[in-house]
Point group: C2
Chain length 258, copies 2
């Protein structure tokens, strides 16, 4: 009796919504590696971090089914998409979760705001090998062509080697030229001058989020920001455990009796 | 000429909204320590993580001003509240940011979903000493009285000792009895059986988020979950750098040429 070899099962989501170019490209790439299920937000959900929908119900529906691919859209956040796909759509744990390709970098501190990476952290929490892919180009028609062979290779290597529980990958690519891949750490920095203040026709203030990222360590060559600035793809191994182990001992010496 | 001693400036926010009991109690406590500015969401924003509002503008307005206290409400997320307060309300960097008191635990993996802790990570990114306070009681009229003296002491000790850049505190208290304080690490675990599936009057499915937290290491005595279960307050030093430094070397050995 011949045994059926199951293809790898790959779950895809993003935060730019199901209509974005990035997720279409990522879906094409992943179909080379296995059976693909897409569960994407039904519109843009940028900057949604790990937000979950708690005060209203969620819905999802199938929008396409063909050989090797089923696509769904969901009313929730990227994190909701992953939770609901794992709970109600997939009959087994996927072999890989990929999120993106995000239109815009999620390097440095952007990892904490990113809906793309929120979905990745969610997969990771649930024991799924998870990778976020982003390109440093916010435009709707960003060109992913030089990034594509790297995405395939990174996904293959990740499935081959696996990742420890609680660790996922944050992969960012420069916009045009790619010189290679750097394993990097999350660059220190913060966003600054963040709002544009305007007056509405009634003379009341309102504020648009804007601003720019201030790199705290532009000279360091081991960061994701350095890699991107120097035309390398950055791969940051990323944890869901936020504990600062170095501080545990220091805090023991504080006087915290009431 | 006598020099004016400036009182510490303390920024307060939360994710349960300005009408929650928790933020009122936290405000009373902090007024013992300095001049307080509250910038809270104008309604509940639970589970908003580090979400930022990018596709619509924000507004805020003053709702109260008296000796030592100014209160504002904002249309955004907890993270928006912090960003906008730092940008448009405060004339100097606050000496302390506190978020909460959250009605519900933010221990273990809940840190990544929590709007309360999202605000804390945001303060931390901006170089502000930041603490999140939560109690393991979801009810609107949670009793904070046994927690209150600890909150005062923890805030005092934190202002006295300071925290390194990039490190903030995630403080969680049990609901009734408190035996003391444990410095702890984030417990491993994940949420499971997360949705309740219902049929609407048109016969279509919709899903409510629910489920329970599955502790992966119930025997470990150094976790925040253990502390809470054993009637201790947990304090987890929490990082905004998500890099897993242990994996940097392993990944160097992967074959990532395209």
């Amino acid at each position: 009796m011949q045994q059926t070899l199951k293809k790898p099962l790959i779950l895809i989501t993003n935060d730019d919504g199901d209509a974005a170019r990035g997720i279409a490209v990522l879906t094409q790439i992943m179909m080379q590696l296995g059976d693909v299920v897409v569960m994407a937000p039904d519109g843009p959900r940028s900057g949604q971090s790990n937000a979950i929908t708690v005060s209203e119900p969620l819905r999802y529906r199938k929008i396409e089914e063909r050989e090797g691919l089923v696509r769904y859209i969901c009313t929730g956040t990227p994190t909701d998409c992953v939770k609901l796909a794992l709970h109600d759509i997939l009959d087994r744990k996927p072999d890989l979760l990929v999120s993106g390709i995000n239109h815009g970098s999620n390097a440095a501190i952007n990892v904490i705001y990113s809906g793309t990476m929120g979905a990745v952290l969610e997969g990771c929490e649930n024991g799924v090998t998870s990778i976020g892919f982003s390109i440093n180009d916010h435009t709707a028609n960003a060109d992913f062509s030089v990034f594509e062979p790297y995405i395939l290779k990174i996904a293959q290597e990740t499935m081959k080697n696996g990742l420890p529980y609680g660790i996922c990958l944050n992969v960012n690519a420069p916009a045009d030229t790619i010189k290679g891949v750097k394993i990097a750490r999350q660059c220190r920095g913060n966003w600054t001058e963040e709002y544009e203040k305007r007056l509405d026709p009634q003379g009341r203030n309102y504020f648009w989020l804007t601003g720019y990222f201030k790199n705290h360590e532009p000279e360091s060559k081991d960061t994701d920001e350095w890699a991107l600035a120097n035309k390398y793809i950055s791969i940051v191994p990323t944890k869901i455990d936020l504990t600062d182990f170095d501080s545990l001992k220091t805090l023991q010496n504080w006087d915290l009796t009431d």
